[in-house]
């Protein structure tokens, strides 16, 4: 079962297309990382999947449901980049409001976690710091017991210790409840630890969509003489090549080193940066008929 499936998805704002002809399939049971330049369309994609934006073109489904439908809203939790909350409410009232607005609600989870974070105060939500508001929003999202969690840069306002703790907590939810997660982030080192599926968006289109394992298995970081770098492009698919003096470092999509080149396994960071530098390169899941 696919948690996310889009076909020809497009979103236009006035004259520009934030998303164009997006075809994406994310299988269940993954933690999918969404990466791309600012303005590549990550936030738009997440908002469409959350059912908050109606796409201009194409279709999308989450867990097989239409985004924004009753079933989708029951099974999917989303925390937007703007960390939406009722800021003029007191924290207790905000939690109570969230409880009233949802059928499925894990009160214990919400209260215990918020208490341990010292957030169950009588102050207003708007008076909390950015990081505290993010923690509150995440807790409320997970207290709904969703099957899919959509997060847009959830850790941006958290300090390093809080980031570690939140990621750890999310991964435990993945382990215990079989939660699927799609989150966008700029911090690639965190993605390495946590993500099992990678989606790279570039200029509103899907550039890379594959499991992390298959990506790491199918790419190599090659080192060799700069003079041969040009020839190499004819032998194997080259993603990026950096020449410095006599040596060239190449990121190639191959699993065996061509003769004359030293190979080592590529890290996720090198992979992501390589594809971001080279928007024309693509790694897309094969269509049904092919292969």
């Amino acid at each position: 079962m696919n948690v996310i499936q889009t076909d020809g998805l497009g979103q236009r704002y006035r004259q520009t297309w934030a998303l164009r002809d997006c075809r994406l399939t994310v299988p269940a049971g993954h933690v999918a990382a969404l990466v791309g330049h600012n303005g590549a369309g990550k936030t738009t994609l997440l908002r469409i999947l959350a059912g908050v934006v109606t796409p201009t073109a194409g279709t999308a489904t989450v867990l097989g449901y239409t985004p924004g439908s009753q079933q989708a809203r029951d099974a999917v939790s989303a925390v937007d980049q703007t960390v939406p909350l009722y800021r003029h409410l007191r924290v207790r009232d905000q939690v109570a409001a969230a409880r009233e607005l949802n059928d499925q609600w894990d009160t214990d989870l919400a209260v215990q976690r918020l208490s341990s974070l010292n957030l169950m105060t009588s102050g207003k939500v708007g008076k909390l710091s950015g990081g505290q508001q993010a923690q509150l929003a995440l807790t409320l999202a997970l207290a709904r017991r969703p099957r899919l969690l959509l997060l847009d840069e959830p850790l941006a306002s958290l300090d390093p210790l809080a980031r570690q703790e939140v990621l750890g907590w999310l991964m435990t939810c993945v382990a215990e409840d079989g939660l699927s997660v799609v989150f966008s982030s700029h911090v690639i080192t965190e993605l390495e630890r946590v993500a099992t599926y990678l989606v790279v968006l570039s200029q509103g289109q899907v550039q890379v969509a594959a499991t992390v394992d298959s990506l790491l298995d199918s790419h190599l970081a090659l080192t060799g003489p700069a003079a041969d770098a040009g020839q190499l492009a004819g032998q194997v698919p080259v993603i990026t090549a950096q020449r410095t003096g006599r040596q060239a470092q190449v990121l190639a999509r191959t699993d065996t080193a061509p003769p004359g080149w030293a190979a080592r396994p590529v890290t996720m960071e090198e992979l992501v940066l390589g594809y971001l530098r080279e928007p024309a390169a693509r790694v897309l899941p094969p269509l049904e008929a092919a292969r």
């Binding site: 999310l170 991964m171 382990a175 630890r193 099992t196 199918s218 080193a257 080592r264 396994p265």
Partner: protein, 160 residues
């Protein structure tokens, strides 16, 4: 500040805890496998001990549970551990440890090799580079070393 862990093994708590070394460039699940191997060799882990629970590892290290499961599967393939559904993963047997005498003989051979390299003008870094390259070639090198099945087969086929 050093936080003390109790010597006594409590119910559901493993004697060891995993850690991450990002600088290594070794995939995370293999790091865990090596850490278990190391702990077994040094006696921190004995047959019958429980390995850290998946949810404890994910919470403390913020890694995907799949990574831990992969590591435990690899250990099962090597015959070192076995999972008990609903309870956890436990060490079944300590790996065949190479005898002290053989270790001493191997180290002597290594010292001879190092002396020869030094005579030929190879410095310490050069020695390390030679050793690393030879080791990588021996293990299969590149992407192939990642596949647990293949790595396990090679391990079994090669000398231990």
């Amino acid at each position: 500040m050093v936080t003390d862990k109790p010597d006594k093994i409590e119910d559901g708590v493993s004697p060891i805890a995993f850690y991450l070394d990002r600088g290594l460039g070794v995939p995370t699940y293999l790091q865990f496998v090596h850490q278990v191997d190391y702990a077994l060799r040094l006696g921190f882990l004995r047959a019958g001990d429980q390995l850290p629970r998946i949810k404890d590892v994910t919470r403390s290290l913020a890694v995907n549970p799949d990574t831990v499961m992969k590591a435990y599967r690899e250990l099962e393939l090597r015959g070192i551990a076995a999972g008990r559904p609903g309870v956890g993963t436990f060490i079944t047997q300590a790996p065949a440890v190479v005898g002290l005498k053989q270790m001493a003989a191997l180290q002597k051979k290594l010292t001879t090799w190092l002396a020869e390299a030094a005579e030929n003008g190879v410095d310490e870094l050069g020695m390390k580079a030679l050793f690393t390259a030879a080791l990588r070639d021996f293990s299969g090198g590149g992407a192939a070393s990642r596949l647990p099945g293949r790595a396990g087969a090679r391990r079994e086929g090669g000398a231990a």
